[in-house]
């Protein structure tokens, strides 16, 4: 049971980080950014490309190079994802800002398809370590730069990969909370989320706030993709869809638009999955996640931490 808790919480942190990207964008522009999961997937391939460029795709790289490589990945991938996310917003979502909600949602689905196709292409263009070319649709292995050895003695497993997840995600979540709570940009974000028109009238540059949100959300997806690559070590063009769906579920579970809610939802989904894997069978654990989501929404239609906003007439 304790093992389930550890596995679930570390897995859930990954969902939480992706979910933050969903929830922040939703909070500001009320758009379910369907392409967010696929942005995460593109981040994975960017990371893999970076490794090939650095020559770390070989069986036995030196320890120093591994450190440099991991540091570079954590630096460059978020920049890449943030830039892509911002570009997509400027190019595609921004002209639709005042259109009905469905319109931007459908274009987000379109962006997701385009990303998936690009990911498939990217996957096919990257040769394997030994120079073989690969099938574009098949999964790629990502070099296991971080060993999966147990750090604890005894039956409970807590690997160095788990440590990496915790060591990266917790500071990020703390920093994000502090950013939203204490900086003037964070304050502007909260104001815009509450009421964009009023925020604009108060002199807040709403467009800048929106750009900032897409930047942060994209960077979080980039961080999540590197964590995913280093811990799961298998990527494919569909990882964005699968993990995006869980992360999205996490965001809604916690109350979409709510930052602590996304973290809570992510952790909850991680734990549910781990318990499902251990006690019900891994084939059923995904079904279990969605079943619990439906139940929670039936009894708390705005999610666990969501506030019950009255419908405006």
């Amino acid at each position: 049971m304790l093992q389930c808790g550890i596995d679930g919480l570390t897995g859930g942190m990954l969902y939480a980080i992706i979910a933050l990207g969903y929830t922040m964008v939703y909070g500001i522009v009320e758009l379910i950014n369907f392409a967010h999961g696929d942005l995460f997937m593109l981040g994975c391939f960017f990371g893999l490309t970076l490794l090939s460029v650095l020559g770390l795709n070989t069986p036995d790289p030196s320890t120093a190079m591994v450190f440099v490589g991991i540091a570079l990945m954590f630096l460059l991938t978020p920049i890449f994802c943030a830039a892509v996310n911002l570009g997509v917003d400027r190019l595609i979502y921004k002209p639709l800002r005042n259109a009905p909600k469905l319109t931007s949602l459908v274009s987000a689905i379109g962006v997701s398809f385009v990303f998936m196709n690009l990911g498939q292409f990217w996957s096919g263009m990257l040769p394997e370590a030994d120079g073989r070319s690969v099938q574009a649709a098949s999964d790629r292995s990502f070099p296991g730069l971080i060993p999966a050895d147990n750090l604890l003695d005894g039956p409970i497993r807590f690997t160095s990969r788990d440590l990496l997840v915790v060591a990266i995600t917790i500071p990020i979540m703390v920093a994000l909370t502090a950013f939203v709570r204490f900086t003037s940009m964070g304050k502007a974000m909260r104001a815009t989320a509450q009421n964009p028109t009023a925020a604009r009238l108060m002199g807040i540059d709403v467009d800048r706030v929106i750009s900032m949100t897409f930047l942060i959300g994209g960077a979080l997806a980039g961080v999540a993709s590197i964590i995913y690559c280093l811990t799961i070590t298998r990527i494919g063009y569909t990882v964005g869809f699968q993990n995006g769906l869980y992360a999205f579920t996490a965001a809604v579970l916690g109350g979409i638009g709510n930052i602590p809610g996304a973290v809570l939802g992510g952790l909850l989904i991680g734990v549910i999955r781990a318990i499902g894997d251990a006690y019900v069978g891994s084939a059923w654990s995904s079904a279990l996640v969605f079943l619990i989501l439906i139940l929670i929404l039936v009894f708390r239609p705005t999610g666990l931490l969501g506030t019950n906003a009255r419908e405006k007439v």
């Binding site: 909600k101 931007s104 964009p196 079904a287 039936v298």
Partner: protein, 353 residues
Amino acid sequence: MRRFPWMLLGFVLLAAYPAIPGLNEGIRGTIDTSLGARLTTLFVYGMLALGLHLIVGLTGMFHLGIGAFFGIGAFVTGIVMVKDPSYPFSWPFWVAIPLSGGIAAVVGVMLSGPTLRLRGDYLALVTLGFGEVIRYTLRNLSEITGGTRTLSPAAPDFPGFKPDQWNSGFEMQYVFCLLALFITWVLVGNLERSRLGRAWVAMREDELAASCMGLNIARLKLAAFALGCFIAGMAGSILAFQQGNTADPDFYGFNTSINTLSCLILGGLGSRNGVLLGVFLLFGFDRLFADLLDNIIRSSFRIESWYLKFAFWKMGVFGLALILFMRFRPSGLLSSSREVHSPAAPAVPEAAK
């Protein structure tokens, strides 16, 4: 002046297609695919999209899991009609088709009952999650559903026809599926003009105003779910006959749901004819034209690289089409005669920018 009945003309032309001797064979000779068989699949998707049209187009509920009900229909038919001694049913097809629709409708009502008070994004997510639950269930209960091994229902035996005639050529399937689509199209049209259909549209436009006018919102939503899922289930049943098996449960996942929804949006949300136009454009592109273009490219340029195939970029082209449509023609090709969206009131007045 009455408008020219373009849709009827289309149905008549489609009905005439298999009657012209040698036409299908001739086309097969030039493009290397049986156009008749491909069209038959499109008819089934057309039915599915008309089912979704009742829920999304007329009623305005954002449903992202219609594929699951398609799958329920297919697998119910597979279970009650498979030729396997361990399955005790072996029922005739005219029981299986309405039964598949009925079970899909019951499941749809069971889902929608508790979710009636959810709206918009939350409803979308619950239907999406429910679709995934169904997909996993179909896959994991493989003792009953056959899972990824799939079940093969017996070919329907129409009185007066030999039982092997269903599979011997495309004609019989073609006529049957076209007829099913036509009947659904007519019924959906009547439904739209009925008291129920007008109530749905009223609710779509303004739920609060509709309920103030004395419409029972909960009952209307349940009716839309039940009827839409019924049609989707029957379409699934017919798909199982047409394909000869129930197909991999993964087929009934999010992709099929979202593609069907895209047909509606492309054709024009709320327009019954637009739905069919969307199906023919989108699934036609997916199942027919992409391959066709590839054949042409391959034969004229002799290119073999995997990424220079048109079929490889299908998903991206499709996504791009969605983006461009939303940007430049968000109401679809044929927007419904009644306004779907109230003209978008800008959230921020122009002067404030």
